[in-house]
Amino acid sequence: MASPQVKGASIAELAEGVRARKWKARELVESYLDRIARLDGRLGCYLLVDGDGARRRADQVDATVAAGRDPGLLAGVPIGLKDIFVTRGLQTTAGSKILRGFVPPYESTVSARLAAAGAIALGKLNMDEFAMGSSNENSAFKPVRNPWDLERVPGGSSGGSAASVAASLCAGSLGTDTGGSIRQPASLCGVAGMKPTYGRVSRYGVIAFASSLDHPGPFGRTVEEVATLLEVIAGHDPCDATSIPSPVGRYRQACAAGLAGMRVGVPEEYFQAGMDPEVEAAVRGAIDEIARAGAKLVPVSLPHTQYAVATYYLVCTAEASSNLARYDGVRYGHRTAEASSLEELYSKTRGEGFGAEPKRRIILGTYVLRSGYYEAYYGKALRVRRKIADDFRAVFDKCDVLATPTSPTAAFKLGERQADPLQMYLADIYTVAPALAGVPALSQCCGFTKNHLPIGLQLIGPPLGEEAVFRIAGEYQRRTYWHKRLPEDPS
């Protein structure tokens, strides 16, 4: 048996090798576990490595193969799960001290679907606490470092999910995107990541930050890998009332379908002052490449874009203040050691358990939902949100997919923006509007800065238009080599 070279290996070749008995799932798992053991001390991607569980499940896949049965599309593929997906019997913290010690008695729908397809979860990936952040510095446990430059952030909140794929500490991963938490770290780490249409992927078992904005989605080194994982996790779930019942698209095929006849919209609002010139140059270069591939470029406008960040922070803080109310120390997770009254049990448990960012958002959200202020804040935000969604609806009459930058800058330095939450919130400036509209959006690598930091291209589709996005993304990737660049292993 050939020994698998896992650094930079693709999901398709790993699974094919397992099915063809070129290597065993167990060997893949050992190779990845070995990389994690050697490298993750420097990177901080994993909050928990489930070596024994991974080996056990790998052996089951190998037994399935040996018995001549179908081991599934993702046979033996080692993956990582953002620590926001609940995993039966495996501690799940959402990056927060308040959930330390919480071992869920049930499994999220999407992690169960991955396992059913033969994927092997290696462990739980680091993240900003309760998915609140754009740098992963809000993890209650440790920061994640960007594999391209260890002094820089990987983006957030799915920083561990993006960095682990970039550093080949897993072949693919799951994250969640509420205002950009998949796309922005994908961009900063030079990998591909997609926030599918809201409701396309079940949220059951995904710890809620902002329910109407939370989108689970996949990371891969290439867009095909993202498409493959999405085909496995997408689809209706009776346990999620907001899940969409329509059939899942053929995303892998779409990646290879070419883009003949497609119209790509370039929204002027996404190319305004404040963007790093290197980012702008790379993204414009990518759009030119897409045009050269045969797509028709259409200048378009999304006039309500400027209100997206404000709207987003009203909606997400309101919902977060509600979703985080259950962490009270009564049933699970952290409970304060000493409380003389019920009131004190709550205030001390929550005071000790939550970090600064969740506290900030709980306070903002509580303010937003106060009786008598609902209309002025939350009610108005919902109306603006509809305007933003209408912008997208209108623009997709003129084009099939939008092309924009994912993040206004490449990865910034650890600590650089921590003192200034507003500056941090602007990292989401290009990603929040598609989140508010619930439309699918993908980020893929479209170049590097002169400091060798990845730059991301964001492709946005209409509701349930994932296939259109993959057609552009697949064709662009075929014409470029950015995805083949790998960061050096940290020493």
Binding site: I84, V86, P105, A241, R326
Partner: protein, 479 residues
Amino acid sequence: MSVDRYEAVIGLEVHVHLASRSKIFSSSSTAFGKEPNSCTDPVCLGLPGALPVLNRAVVDAAVRLGLAVGSHIRPRCRFARKHYFYPDLPKGFQISQYEEPLCEGGAVEFRVAGEARRVRLTRIHLEDDAGKNIHDDSGVSFVDFNRAGVPLVEIVSEPDIRSAEEAAEYMRALRTLVRTLGISDGNMEEGSLRCDANVSLRLHGTEKLGTKAEMKNINSFKHVREAVEHEIRRQAAVLDRGEAVVQETRLWDPERGLSQSMRSKEHAHDYRYFPEPDLPPLAVDQDWIERAQRSLPELPENRYRRYTDALGLSAQDAGVLCSEREIADYFDVASKACAAPAKKLANWIINEVLARIDDPRRLAAVDLPVPPVALAELVDLVEKGTLSGKLGKDIFGRMWQEKRRAGEIVASESVAVVSDVGLIEEICKKIVAAYPDEVVRYRGGQSKLLGFFVGKVMKEMGGKANPKTANEILLRLLG
């Protein structure tokens, strides 16, 4: 000073457990009285990542209730989160309805001492129940989440109620209604029906509403009567002293028969309602409404009117029969099989059947000793004269004991009344001859001695003489 100076203005918020097998937003059982925390799941425990999915059977039950009271069923309604912290509230919020409830308007019709009353409804909405805190003697508190997620409807009335008595009767009428509809078991002892009462006073003849206090934690008809009565007196005393009633929430303590302030208006909860993002808006289309409308049984108030108008029952009898769904059902089945007048049948049910059971709900039991058709048979035997009233009652007692039919007992033991005029006349003559003194006194004007002779005849015949025939013969012989 006097309570009578004031008119009480009362509105009730009644919470009713809906009888569904599974919870309103998840699959675990709603069974009562199980091992603590054995009927739970990730959703009703509010575990991280769990999501609610609406149980449509619960919506159907609430739609039927809304139609029964003439509410407008909103074609599109929404759920909302109502936030507060309490250990029995696992999510830190209750999923309720706020701005867009399922049902709006409508009214409940019922009677207080035979007098028709109508209380308008503001709204009926769906929500999930909380768990239950259990306090140990040692000072440790536990929480049982079996009740968490049990479906509730909250029925909010307009302030149309004017007395404690009326409040209790209104609540009783709601209980009968939900039990008639089959949407709740209405078990008071299991907390299936609970209410909060908003009470204010104003001088008779004035329009302006007084300041109200909300009484919480009322879970029986007796308690609603006592709590409201107590609150009326308390507010009257406050007003008599020239003070103002404080707007506040008060907790009723049924053990001690008094209430205490829980929180004032200034400390009222800000529930921070907002639309539940995990549940899409609920659409109830016309088809659904029509299906539900067709499924409605005869409602208690219509039944009452049928009993009094078509069947000629007294208000009192009709009231007793309609007080529980099972009594009325029993009466209706018996009535179909019975040729005797409804009034007679009603008497048998009220005096004999109900006297033998402590819980009228038992009338629906399959092993009931005297099912309605068996009672109908007995009543007909008495009405035809085959059995005397006295014999009939004896036989009813034996039917209840032995679970046998009346006809069977009569046939096997020849207990039927003797209607043979010749035989009865013979005995009557014998008795008249045996008591010459009494005959003289009877003829001298002591006509009540007729009963003495009837009694002697009955005794002679072992109680089997047709009393009507014996009466007629004796009257002739003595006359």
